[in-house]
């Protein structure tokens, strides 16, 4: 798991630095809360699919500080994110932006669901359209009639 990788990375430096450090926190709780929310959507570039909020890699620390600087400078959330994406590319976004190369990714779940649902409906229709079990032969009909007449069903020998 990727957090292991990070533990490995940091533990090489023999520290237990864990994600957001006290020194990084902004004095203004509202700004800090915004920073935390944004951080959770930004990837730590040297980690495996881990957000900078969770990571304790040095680079994640740098991006956390950079992000907080932008917020203090008065950026809105989208502006701050845009600033970081301009420097690190779309790769930094844990939620891939909807664009040509990600249409398949974003459309697949609803399309899968729709196709599956359609398939299930068609299959059910086809089943319903098919004739039921073959009608009873004369012999079987007679047997059934006999069975229905007797009160206790007799066991065929």
């Amino acid at each position: 798991m990727k957090r292991l990788a990070i533990l490995l990375l940091t533990s090489l430096l023999a520290t237990t630095a864990l994600a957001v450090e006290p020194a990084e926190k902004l004095a203004d709780p509202a700004l800090e809360a915004r920073a935390r929310v944004i951080s959770q959507g930004l990837r730590c570039l040297v980690c495996r699919n881990e957000s900078i909020d969770e990571s304790h890699a040095d680079l994640a620390h740098d991006v956390r500080v950079l992000l907080r600087e932008r917020l203090v400078a008065g950026d809105t959330n989208p502006q701050a994110v845009a600033y970081i994406v301009a420097r690190y590319g779309d790769f930094v976004l844990l939620e891939p932006p909807v664009k040509r190369s990600t249409y398949v990714l974003w459309l697949a779940p609803p399309v899968l669901l729709a196709l599956g649902g359609l398939g299930a409906l068609i299959a059910m229709r086809r089943q319903a359209g098919q004739a039921g079990p073959a009608p009873l032969s004369a012999e079987e009909g007679a047997q059934l009639a006999k069975l229905m007449q007797t009160d206790t069903p007799e066991r065929p020998a």
């Binding site: 798991m1 237990t16 864990l18 495996r48 699919n49 976004l93 891939p96 990600t102 899968l112």
Partner: protein
């Protein structure tokens, strides 16, 4: 010497697996009882051989035989005994041996319990299992031999990664592998049925307990891994949508669909070809998971093998196994059509909806996991697919799953009465509404999804109780009679109630995580910090010595409203051998909430970095998973799996009818 025995057992095992692959298959085709009989003996022999191989590697670990490369690289004389043994599967070669051992265990179990199977079906099942075993044994012998020796053994081993030295992680891989590999049995049954060209209620009855057992093990394995992450990583995260987690989650989703669709095959003789496909897909996803983790495609700690020879070997195995079975399916499945009819609103219909949503969820997770790799390979953009994507796609799929989960069991087979079912669920409506209100007021608002989560949890939980209460006619007849009904209820019914209730518990735990409180501070000795309603005073930090580490142990006095309620001791441990530090969190677990403290580094002024969390209902997440697994196990004790009454009755009935004519 013992190590060479193990190596030898692997080589002989490969030959035996080859025999198991082809002799019974031929025997089933020719109707040769002698050749069919080879399957059982080969499977039992393979199990014995793999047990010898496992035992000899365990022996090397326990005796710290550093002339074995694998032991030298992953063990150390100072390690506690538990981690000497679990170190075996903490690395690539050893974990592949565990994989094959469990596969042989499953094969042995099939061979033992297959007496009441039609001989040809049993032979084909065993032969498919033999093929899988042969493939993986070839992989181990060619690229990942755990029994290699070193010419000049080192004085001591390199030890095991400290974060893996943990009881939770010692048992996580065996359970996970039991789940992964356990699905090989339903896969083998599916392939055998395709060759046979026959799927009926009896087939589903044989297959379902195996799938259910694998599902239970996988549930426990995933829960253990998640729990381990929670208490180890120092910030209380428990699910990350990490590719390695996804690798275990995809077979779980598909397996969940499988154990449900097999019900329809068993009870109603419908959904046959779909169930076969699910059995193939579930095991294929297990193989994909093994490939993702073992090939080094993902550069995480789990992917110790960064060796292209291994990667391409597993990829080839994957293509042969998955491609081959899907081709067979395409050729033979159309012949399986037919079976019971049902209206869209019916028990079958609800199970189809469950299957549709679970399969879509598994597909979305698969795509989200592989898409960045795919884009990278075709030279497209570099993108990340992380938690936000999975939450956005997965959660909307799970909401209808939870909604139908309460309704489905109340619908009749063939044609259900939706309005009637909803009316009988009035108590669940009330529970969901109350949950909304309570959550809203207790937390003064909060994310909408969290409130919805609580409502869904209450709906599913109360739905499970209502269904069970109806079956035993609770409060409608006198209690003694209800009790008698409960005793005579099939165990599978109790199992379903437990498992569905477990889902409700887990969902509540997940929803509650929106209300976590967190505090990260620098605290001096004697200083205090607050999280939620708790005040924590750092009394002192002491140096402790463990078997193979040094620890700084903090002592926190935890007060609530001025009264001392707990003393907690988080540690940071330094492992000199690996020069690594880990965090040993202190957690005060409660049914209502966990209090969680992790100790970080000191700063130059002697203040300590402390992370403290208040996590409401977090233990429910794993408690619910335990209930699910327990439900599965209770269901496994159902009488109908043990006695082939239905099969025999049908056989004798058919014979009698034929005779009567």
């Amino acid at each position: 010497m013992i190590t060479e025995f193990g190596h030898f057992a692997l080589i002989v095992g490969f030959a035996v697996a080859l025999a198991q692959s082809f002799v019974p298959l031929l025997g089933a085709a020719r109707g040769d009882a002698g050749m069919i009989g080879v399957g059982r003996n080969a499977a039992l022999a393979l199990f014995a051989l793999m047990a010898i191989a496992m035992a000899s590697l365990i022996h090397a670990y326990v005796t710290s035989d550093f002339s074995v490369v694998n032991v030298a690289q992953n063990s150390h004389t100072d390690k506690p005994m538990l981690y000497k043994v679990s170190g075996l599967w903490g690395n690539h070669e050893g974990s592949m041996l565990l994989w094959v051992f469990i596969l042989a265990l499953c094969g042995g179990a099939v061979a033992t319990f297959c007496r009441n199977l039609p001989p040809a079906l049993g032979a084909r099942v065993l032969s498919v299992q033999g093929m899988i075993a042969a493939g993986f044994l070839a992989f181990i012998l060619a690229t990942s031999n755990p029994f290699l020796r070193i010419a000049v053994p080192p004085a001591n081993g390199q030890g095991l990664n400290p974060v893996l030295q943990d009881p939770g992680l010692a048992f996580h891989p065996p359970f996970l592998y039991l789940g992964y590999v356990g699905f090989s049995v339903s896969f083998a049954f599916a392939i055998a049925a395709l060759i046979d060209g026959k799927v009926d209620a009896a087939w589903a009855r044989w297959v379902r307990p195996w799938a259910l057992a694998a599902w239970c093990a996988l549930t426990l394995g995933i829960a253990l891994g998640s729990w381990w992450a929670y208490y180890t990583l120092g910030w209380g995260g428990w699910w990350f949508w990490d590719p390695v987690e996804n690798a275990s989650f995809m077979p779980w989703l598909a397996g969940t669909a499988l154990i449900h669709s097999a019900i329809v095959v068993e009870k109603r003789d419908a959904l046959k070809s779909w169930t076969i496909l699910l059995a193939i897909v579930t095991f294929s996803l297990s193989l994909v998971g093994t490939f993702l983790v073992r090939s080094g495609v993902l550069t995480s700690v789990h992917a110790f093998a960064v060796d292209p020879a291994r990667g391409s070997f597993i990829l080839a195995l994957l293509i042969v196994a998955i491609g081959g079975s899907l081709v067979l399916y395409a050729v033979r499945a159309p012949a399986l059509a037919g079976g019971g009819l049902f209206a869209p609103v019916s028990r079958e219909g609800a199970l189809v909806l469950n299957n549709l949503l679970m399969a879509t969820a598994a597909g979305s997770v698969l795509l989200g996991t592989l898409y960045p790799l795919f884009l990278d390979v075709v030279g497209g953009d570099k993108i990340s697919v992380g938690a936000p994507f999975f939450n956005k796609t997965f959660v909307p799929l799970m909401v209808p799953v939870l909604l139908t989960m309460a309704i489905g069991p109340l619908l009749g087979w063939k044609r259900g009465d939706l309005l009637g079912a909803l009316q009988r669920l009035w108590l669940a409506f009330v529970a969901a509404f109350l949950a909304c209100l309570v959550a809203y007021y207790a937390t003064s608002g909060g994310p909408v999804m969290a409130i919805v989560g609580f409502a869904l949890a209450a709906w599913v939980g109360m739905g499970a109780i209502v269904e069970w209460a109806e079956r035993v006619a609770l409060f409608r007849v006198r209690p003694g009679l209800s009790l008698r009904r409960a005793i005579h209820l099939p165990r599978a019914a109790h199992g379903m109630t437990l498992a569905h209730f477990g889902i409700a518990v887990t969902v509540a735990g997940i929803a509650a995580s929106a209300f976590d409180a967190e505090q990260i501070d620098l605290v001096a000795i004697g200083g205090a910090m607050r999280v939620g309603q708790y005040e924590m005073t750092l009394e002192r930090v002491d140096r402790r010595e463990g078997p193979n580490y040094l620890a700084d142990e903090a002592t926190f006095n935890v007060r609530r409203d001025g009264a001392l309620i707990a003393v907690m001791h988080p540690q940071r441990r330094f492992f000199p051998l690996q020069e690594r530090t880990t965090s040993e969190t202190a957690i005060r677990t409660g049914i209502g909430a966990d209090l969680y403290i992790a100790l970080g580094d000191p700063d130059p002024q002697g203040r300590w970095t402390v992370r403290a969390y208040w996590k409401p209902l977090v233990s429910w997440i794993w408690g619910g998973a335990l209930l699910m697994a327990l439900g599965g196990m209770v269901s496994l004790t159902d009488r109908r799996w043990r006695i082939g009454v239905a099969v025999k009755a049908r056989a004798t009935g058919a014979a009698a009818v034929a005779a009567g004519e």
